[in-house]
Amino acid sequence: MGTRTIAGVTVQVNDEGFLTNPAEWNKSIAAEIAKEEGIATLSDAHWKVIDYCRGEANKLGGKSPTLRQITVGTGVQTKELFGLFPKGPAKKVARIAGLGKPEGCV
């Protein structure tokens, strides 16, 4: 646990760079983290997914949605999701959207 400054804002992050308080997130932070994840610019398609995840997490008590929930909820196909957020979209989207890493119970 620690803090770091992203896009001019000091936020709390865990050891893997995930924001620990979703309320500290903003769109510039998302763009900055996306760059670190190898996504140069966030397109409308990216935002559709990010916005959905933020909304769902709100409903799910802060828990980031699973890939299946994202595909059904947004209508974006899984394959396409891997195109938008290469190599592990569930984890990448969660980090960019300022949500916790997808995790199990242990």
């Binding site: 799910l60 929930q69 242990v106």
Partner: protein, 338 residues
């Protein structure tokens, strides 16, 4: 007895499938559970189903797998979790650790390769559990393939393929298929809109935020805790007291904290025990008596294994009979440390 065709929460009634009759209700408690859906993954439940591909979340699957393993001469066994959430999230880990032990006992462990392919970033994902238990699968020579999101199974070539085009070949595939709530939830438009058929509820009271007279208990509820027997058990304790107050129009005093308590058999006569809730991840410690135990949290021990064996008796003779179990419904921090 009849299945329910549809729930009409706006009209406070359910329609029976058998004769189309309507039953009115003042309060509705939904406990329709979760089931596995192998048909949702292409190639899974086809001609190799229960030949080289097995599940263990159904009685038929578990028995067929047991029979298959009796004569299996070794090869690569892959355990694959299709997608979370699943019932009893530690069961796949428990299965693969017990498989390691079983093949040792059979004298063929050197001819078996064990691979655990999970959609999560690792076998253990909570920070403290990863630190405490991260080594355990390595020591057992069980390989982990993280973030493996299975797209399809190729039953003829015996391989599973992920969306990012990774392939894992297997001789024996043990799958934990997609889990979904009951279809009646989706048919009634009461799901969260994600196709998984779980009902959104307040995570502390299980009351639907949309319908003030509908509660959802157990696996059917979309709450951020494990779909596990212990959770349902503790949750019902809290619910029962709340429900009586709710009927009388009183505020519900008791808040469920997401408490879960699970033994994880790790093989060779040992086991692990985890105890956690919505806010507190599994921590090391002693349970149920602080400082004494006899069970060790987040640590392997023989006593934990005996605890599990004892629990088997308690399950049939105490829990299922509805007798009181002297364990508090809410998680306690006493006896735990960080």
């Amino acid at each position: 007895m009849s299945p329910i065709e549809v729930i009409e929460p706006e009209h406070n009634r359910v329609k029976l499938a058998k004769d189309g009759r309507y039953l009115d209700y003042d309060f509705l408690v939904i406990a329709t559970g979760a089931r596995t859906h192998p048909e949702e993954t292409p190639g899974l439940q086809e001609h190799e189903w229960h030949k080289s591909i097995y599940d263990f979340y159904t009685v038929e699957g578990a028995l067929a797998l047991q029979k298959h393993l009796r004569n299996w001469e070794g090869g690569r066994l892959v355990v694959n979790v299709v997608e979370n959430p699943i019932k009893c999230p530690v069961a796949p880990l428990e299965f693969i650790m017990l498989a390691d032990w079983f093949f040792h006992e059979q004298g063929i462990r050197d001819r078996v390769e064990l691979i655990y392919a999970t959609p999560l970033p690792g076998a253990f994902t909570k920070p403290i559990a990863s630190k405490q238990l991260g080594h355990i699968l390595d020591e057992k020579n069980i390989k982990v393939e993280p973030e493996f999101m299975v797209m399809e199974v190729n039953p003829d070539e015996k391989k599973i393929v992920s969306y990012d085009e990774r392939e894992i070949e297997y001789d024996l595939l043990v799958t934990v298929p997609l889990n979904k709530g009951d279809e009646v939830i989706g048919r009634s438009g009461m799901d969260a809109g994600d196709g998984l058929n779980y009902v959104p509820v307040d995570k502390h009271t299980f009351l639907s935020p949309t319908y003030g007279n509908v509660f959802v208990l157990g696996d059917a509820a979309a709450v951020p805790t494990s779909k596990a027997g212990s959770v349902a058990h503790f949750a019902v304790d809290i619910f029962a007291e709340n429900f009586v107050r709710h009927i009388d129009g009183l505020e519900m005093h008791h808040k469920f904290d997401g408490h879960a308590n699970c033994f994880i058999e790790s093989g060779f006569g040992k086991g692990l025990l985890i105890d956690f809730n919505y806010d507190v991840e599994p921590l090391p410690g002693r349970y149920p008596l602080p400082g004494v135990g006899p069970f060790k949290l987040l640590e392997e021990s023989e006593m934990n294994h005996w605890g599990k064996m004892m629990f088997r008796w308690m399950y049939w003779n105490i829990l299922l009979k509805g007798a009181e179990l002297p364990l508090p419904a809410k998680m306690s921090m006493s006896g735990k440390w960080r």
